[in-house]
């Protein structure tokens, strides 16, 4: 009788049933879409992070630069060329042609002793560790006016902007600066680190006993018209190119660096023996990530320790906008619509009970207990909620499907942990350098700093894929049923107070 009566009532009050169900369905659909999109955005964020930090990395350890000129890579800081009186060759017209190669840690990061690796390996819950040395190679070639022409006993300091390359002519001088990001990796530790999202495009990968060879990012290799078998100049030394790699993140996405060399080679060329710049840590399970990060901070007080969650906050671009939008607007909108739908369900249920005063009073007069009458009313609204929930899931799935079909592209770059530097958006490199002369020194500085590493320059474009998980479907239906239950509580309370004498009220 319960179900027969329930079904008949809902079918009979079809308009009301449909309105309440639609209200709940829209709210539920919204909840599902918001959740799916925000999950999609999070996935996209971690994909951006993976393209830089690699798959499976839970914690990254870096060391921020102590300040300009600080750190082991002493010598005026990265990107700074110093030429003395005797450098280069003077030519007859008072010009001096110069070439110089510099290999330094990337700007903003310092290196630290690789013994940190062992310290971290010994920590509990650490299941994998890999260290890299991220470097930038700058090569200068060009002509500058002879120094005597500038000032007696003078000295020229050239500071290249961190843009990928610059050409300039200041006065009579003309020069070219080329930039290359180089990461020294441990060929043995492939399970963690930036190369986990790279796959071989040509040649071979680095092997354990490799020395003085390089693997290039395929995109960079193509730009520079380099191929396996050619050489690339790093730190003034020619290294044989043994392979090229591409990112697994997507087509045309650059890997974390332009070139990868064995860690030992990188350390030797940069004159940074036993030094590393980044340590990638894999933790045995997700719930231990924070504990491991804390433990690393304890044993390495100077290090900057970032978890994936910390890093996600540093993802820039439309991704972070989308993340904020979904996070705040979506949640609020969802809550408001949900509250409205609940209110609607309650209103309709209560007014329905009022309309059925005599009917419900009659049932009480027939000996139906209060609990049975209340249960009947509550049952109706719970089923109404269930119907709304199921319709909402269908609607939500449809909406999510549409979102996925629309192929919304989010772009984001990761700027975090000293691995990647950069101002927002890249932008065209400044034209040459602004020349400043003072006290016998010429300083050529970039007008503004721009991103250094590839990952910052090439923001990763990711097509939003919003997933619908089974538990959110369950939670959404639960929410709708909760709405029905709430309406049932209000309607039921009214029905409970109803007295059986109402059956005799003969106001037709």
């Amino acid at each position: 009788m319960f179900f027969t009566y329930l079904r008949r009532e809902l079918r009979n009050r079809r308009k009301q049933t449909v309105v309440v169900a639609i209200g709940l369905a829209v709210a539920i659909a919204l909840v599902i879409v918001v959740n799916a999109v925000s999950t999609g955005v999070k996935d996209a964020q971690s994909e951006v992070l993976e393209s830089v930090y690699g798959v499976g990395t839970d914690v990254t350890v870096t060391q921020p630069a102590a300040g300009p000129g600080g750190g082991p890579g002493e010598g005026g800081g990265p990107g700074r060329f110093d030429f003395g009186e005797d450098d280069g060759e003077a030519s007859a017209d008072g010009m001096r042609s110069l070439t110089q190669d510099r290999l330094d840690p990337v700007m903003g990061s310092a290196t630290f002793d690789s013994s940190a690796l062992d310290t971290i390996t010994d920590l509990e819950h650490v299941s994998g560790v890999a260290a890299t040395l991220a470097l930038q190679n700058m090569s200068f070639s060009g002509e500058l006016p002879d120094f005597e022409a500038l000032q007696e006993g003078g000295r020229v300091t050239l500071r290249a902007g961190p843009d990928s390359s610059g050409e300039a002519s200041t006065g009579d001088s003309s020069f070219e600066i080329e930039q290359l990001t180089v990461t020294g990796v441990d060929p043995g530790a492939a399970a963690v680190g930036p190369l986990t999202t790279a796959e071989l495009a040509d040649g071979r990968t680095l092997e354990a006993d490799d020395e003085d060879v390089a693997v290039l990012d395929a995109t960079y290799a193509e730009q520079q018209e380099l191929a396996v078998g050619d050489t690339v100049t790093v730190g003034g030394e020619e290294l044989e190119i043994v392979g090229t790699v591409t990112s697994t993140t997507g087509d045309g996405v650059a890997t974390a660096a332009d070139a990868y060399v064995p860690l030992a080679t990188a350390q030797r060329l940069a004159d940074l023996d036993g030094q590393v710049s980044d340590v990638y840590v894999q933790v045995d399970s997700a719930e231990n990530v924070d504990a491991v990060a804390g433990a690393i901070e304890d044993v390495l007080p100077d290090a900057s320790v970032s978890t994936q969650a910390d890093l996600a906050e540093n993802v820039t671009g439309t991704l972070s906008t989308a993340s904020d939008l979904v996070g705040t607007l979506g949640t609020w909108l969802g809550a408001i619509v949900l509250a409205a739908a609940f209110g609607l369900a309650i209103l309709f249920t209560v007014s329905g009970v009022n309309r059925r005063t005599r009917e419900l009073g009659t049932l009480k007069a027939l000996g139906w207990s209060r609990g049975r009458v209340v249960g009947q009313v509550a049952g109706e609204s719970v089923v109404q909620g269930l119907v709304g929930g199921v319709a909402g899931v269908a609607l939500g799935a449809l909406a999510v499907w549409a979102v996925n079909l629309a192929g919304i592209t989010l772009s984001g770059g990761a700027s975090a942990g000293g691995f990647v530097l950069g101002g927002p958006g890249g932008g065209p490199p400044p034209e040459g350098g602004a020349a400043v002369q003072d006290a016998g020194a010429a300083t050529f500085g970039a007008a503004r700093p721009v991103g250094v590493a590839d990952a910052a320059n090439d923001a990763v474009d990711i097509v939003l894929q919003a997933p619908v998980s089974p538990w959110i479907v369950l939670a959404a239906v639960g929410l709708a049923v909760l709405g029905g239950l709430l309406a049932g509580v209000f309607g039921g309370r009214r029905a409970a107070r109803l007295r059986p004498v109402e059956a005799l009220r003969s106001l037709a």
Partner: protein, 225 residues
């Protein structure tokens, strides 16, 4: 069957106090058919509510089969209504979304009888009121007289001791009225039910062996015809 002693019922309506029953005493024997007449607002329905355990008197006792309805809890009253008291209303009061058969079944729901028994008993009750072939009709598809027959079947399907009817013919035309009164009379004769029939229609009242008149909350026995 009923022993009613000095029952009063007052309603508070704002500052106004309505005395619907002013010390009513009455005895109804088992198997009696009693008609209650009186003007509108005289207290007929109020008396029936007291007899049916739909409401409690302000003072006095209403003893049904030795148990005082006035002193019962809500749950006890509910049980009494479910088992021993059958109601028929002026406005039929069928559940509009349920079929005739299902409406009759609702009276068996509190008794928790098995579904099949419930259906067959409801069908038998419909047969008894001459509507055995209308079980799957909705109330809206039935005439007023037919609806009241369904309501009578609903009241009787649980084999109650008493049948309380409040103006059962009030909404019916004369011909149908007579059919319903015939039906009630027949059931009374066949089943030995105790029936209290409230009506302002003296044609109906005259069919009853015993007649009462209630006006201004005071009960008066009328001479038998």
């Amino acid at each position: 069957m009923y022993q009613i002693d000095d029952v009063t019922k007052t309603y508070q309506q704002g500052r106004r106090v309505v005395r619907a029953l002013r010390g009513v005493s009455l005895t109804i024997g088992a198997g009696e058919l009693v008609a209650v007449q009186g003007p509108t607002g005289g207290g007929k329905s109020t008396l029936l509510q007291m007899l049916g355990g739909l409401d409690r008197p302000t003072s006095g006792t209403v003893t049904l089969d030795g148990a005082d309805l006035a002193g019962m809890t809500d749950a006890q009253l509910t049980a009494a209504r479910a088992g021993t008291i059958g109601f028929v209303f002026q406005t039929f009061n069928l559940i509009p979304t349920l079929t005739a058969l299902e409406n009759v079944e609702t009276a068996l729901v509190p008794a928790k009888v098995a579904r099949q028994t419930r259906t067959s008993r409801a069908q038998a009750a419909l047969d008894a009121v001459g509507l055995g072939d209308r079980g799957d009709h909705l109330p809206g598809e039935l005439s007023g007289g037919q609806q009241q027959r369904v309501a009578i079947a609903r009241a009787l399907v649980k084999n109650p001791k008493v049948l309380l009817a409040d103006e059962p013919t009030g909404n019916l035309d004369e011909e149908t009225r007579d059919e319903i009164v015939d039906l009630i009379e027949g059931l009374w004769k066949d089943q030995g039910l105790t029936i209290v029939l409230v009506t302002h229609d003296s044609v109906v009242a005259r069919r009853a062996p015993r007649r009462l008149r209630i006006a201004k909350g005071t009960l008066k026995e009328l001479p038998s015809p």
